[in-house]
């Protein structure tokens, strides 16, 4: 459509915003400048590295959430699978399993749980919200019962360095986990935009019936999307195992709503098929830079939460509102 300059500025800005997350980029730069100008140590290398590491944890957990939201679902089992992956990592590490075996077992189990989520939600037409809520409860309960919640395991030393903000890659001063995040971002970008898998995903999210008529096996898309989500949550759990050094039975809890917040602040719509992972990357960076700013200015946890709530409303107000009823008749 040719841009119609007779339309009001707000409508045109919204149109641009739908195509390109301009607002998010401006917000990220503004938040970063605010921190740099008002906090002495904010723009130091160590501080930036810490923010990047924290953003990569959130970004990887929110990657799966993005994929699931793109097909019109939602995944509430994220925190449970993070906690499960975290406890299993330290437990099996303490039993001197090889690292490869630990990762294989955790990611395999997670993929299975996610696939069951996708199948139950799609095949039985039950809201994904409830299915993932139930399966998350089963997963975290099983892991806690199996480990008796007392995890005094350990992780390999190299793995602790992997998530350390002070780590380097090939002599470059970049935390290793951040490189992993960049690689994952590129892979997700390629899969979403340059492969048939990505096209099927967007088609399913946009209009499931139409996708079926175009011979997309939407059930498989649901199973795959939820399995992907669970695997990304498990990866976050494993990484958090290295970060904290011990298993913690509530380590995943903050990610329940933060992973959703990262997706929607980034500008991916909960309606499905509108959005992208790199928007979620921006959303994760915005949330972490914002939190660091608020902590740096010694605002309380309470203020941080209130600001987060208001920011969600402000951001979504610019792009993600539903259509008016009178336009849907």
């Amino acid at each position: 459509m040719i841009a119609d300059y007779t339309r009001p500025l707000i409508a045109r800005t919204q149109e641009t915003q739908r195509r390109f997350p301009l607002l998010q980029i401006v917000a990220l730069i503004a938040l970063f400048l605010w921190g740099t100008l008002s906090l002495p140590a904010f723009a130091q290398r160590s501080s930036i590295d810490s923010m990047l590491v924290l953003a990569s944890f959130l970004g990887i957990a929110a990657a799966g959430q993005t994929v699931v939201i793109l097909i019109g679902g939602i995944d509430l089992s994220v925190p449970s699978i993070i906690t499960g992956g975290n406890l299993m990592t330290t437990l099996l590490g303490g039993k001197h399993w090889s690292f490869g075996a630990i990762v294989a077992v955790i990611l395999g189990t997670a993929a299975l749980v996610g696939a069951v989520n996708g199948y139950l939600a799609h095949h039985h037409g039950v809201p994904a919200l409830i299915i993932t809520l139930g399966s998350g409860s089963v997963v975290v309960g099983s892991v806690l019962a199996g480990t008796h919640a007392s995890v005094y395991g350990s992780v390999p030393g190299w793995f602790t360095r992997f998530v350390s903000p002070a780590s380097t890659v090939a002599g470059l001063h970049v935390p290793q986990v951040v490189v992993l995040w960049i690689v994952l971002t590129l892979v997700i970008g390629v899969v979403l935009h340059l492969t048939g898998i990505g096209r099927r995903l967007y088609a399913t999210g946009a209009n499931e019936r139409a996708a079926q008529l175009a011979l997309v096996r939407t059930e498989l898309v649901w199973v795959g999307a939820f399995a992907t989500s669970a695997v990304f949550s498990a990866i976050t759990g494993i990484l958090l195992g290295a970060w904290s050094g011990t298993g913690e039975q509530s380590i995943g809890d903050p990610y329940l709503f933060l992973s959703i917040a990262a997706v929607i602040v980034g500008g991916t719509s909960l309606i499905g098929a509108r959005g992208d992972y790199w928007r979620t990357v921006l959303g994760s960076l915005i949330l972490i830079v914002l939190t660091t700013n608020l902590v740096g200015h010694s605002y309380s946890e309470a203020t941080q939460q209130i600001v987060l709530g208001l920011i969600i409303l402000a951001v979504v107000g610019t792009y993600g509102r539903d259509r008016a009823l009178r336009d849907r008749i």
Partner: protein, 339 residues
């Protein structure tokens, strides 16, 4: 399978499965009722004192906040449009904190003053959710998630540490009031209101909007007003839930409400309310919450590791919603769309 005998309650020419499906659509609470009765029996068998008169008021008192959280979550879901209210739990927390910190120590603790004030507060915050959803057209998950964070922050600011309250009237709500379990006053009155509420014209509008908002709008229903009122109703019930919660914990403690967030949604689903809207009710949600509570007490009485309670809770929820979908209880439109 149409060979219904003459004594059968299944009408002739209707398959048993179709009849069950229509019955399940009409009486959405039946599954949770059966589950609750079975669990009451199981609890009593395992621990006979469970059903003793001295135990019941306390048990009901512990149950009340769960049941009210589930009931408060119901109207937003019933009214459809992807409706959900994630802010119910932190609103219960706010009601609890305001009662203990602001009202009781400042001479406003008399139930005749405190209760209306809290209900008004809950209704106003619920109405804000409703305006965000119905007028400003935010997706309900996002609007109520934002309010969740804001209320959670306010709770944390008001009561960063637990504050004990001196003995006051809410204690009787969690135990007995003139030999009547206090829960009869909280949950019971709400349920009684629900039965009268079902006779009102608003109830019809609520279900019509929940079933198909565009059709209701075309038929002249003020959809925005119906939605705002539904969220406000949820807020009022959340305030009642906060009062019941104060009864059981006798303090302002913000570490309690987070455990209600997901259990309330699970209880609503167990209670047979369709998450797509338009079908269900308070009775099912109250029974769903009761079932969740009874699963906990049963496993505790059996001496099962507390972590298996979570497993059992998740498994029952999955089985219930999947079985429910088999009876065509959840979203028949979905099935039509899939042909």
């Amino acid at each position: 399978m149409t060979s219904a005998s003459s004594v059968s309650i299944v009408p002739p020419g209707v398959s048993v499965r179709a009849w069950l499906a229509s019955a399940a659509r009409e009486y959405t609470f039946v599954f949770s009722l059966v589950l609750t009765i079975a669990l009451v029996i199981a609890n009593t068998v395992v621990l006979p004192s469970f059903a003793s008169w001295s135990q019941i008021p306390g048990e009901l008192g512990t149950l009340a906040p769960f049941a009210l959280a589930a009931m408060a979550s119901t109207p937003a879901i019933l009214v459809g449009g992807g409706g959900i209210d994630l802010s119910i739990a932190p609103l219960m927390g706010l009601s609890n904190v305001v009662l203990v910190i602001a009202l009781l120590p400042h001479g406003l603790g008399n139930p005749a003053i405190a209760v209306p004030l809290l209900l008004l507060l809950g209704g106003l915050i619920g109405a804000i959710n409703g305006v965000l959803v119905a007028v400003l057209r935010y997706p309900p998950v996002i609007a109520t998630l934002a309010v969740y964070f804001v209320l959670g922050g306010i709770d944390l600011r008001l009561a960063p540490n637990p504050v004990n309250s001196y003995p006051h009237w809410t204690a009787e709500l969690a135990t007995s009031l003139w030999h009547v379990p206090g829960t009869v006053l909280t949950v019971g009155v709400v349920l009684l209101c629900w039965f009268f509420f079902r006779r009102t014209a608003y109830y019809g509008s609520l279900l019509a909007v929940g079933d198909d908002d565009v059709a209701a709008f075309s038929a002249g229903v003020d959809v925005a007003a119906v939605r705002i009122l539904a969220y406000a109703l949820g807020g009022v019930l959340a305030a009642v839930g906060g009062i019941a919660l104060t009864g059981t914990i006798q303090s302002a403690d913000i570490t309690v409400w987070p455990s209600f967030v997901l259990i309330a949604l699970a209880a609503v689903a167990l209670g047979g309310t369709a998450l797509g809207g338009g079908r269900g009710g308070f009775l099912g949600s109250a029974l769903g919450a009761t079932a969740v509570y009874l699963i906990q007490t049963l496993l505790a009485a059996l001496g099962v590791d507390v972590f298996y309670v979570q497993v059992a809770f998740g498994a029952v929820l999955l089985v219930a919603v999947v079985a429910g979908s088999q009876l065509g209880r959840t979203s028949p439109m979905w099935r039509e769309a899939r042909g």
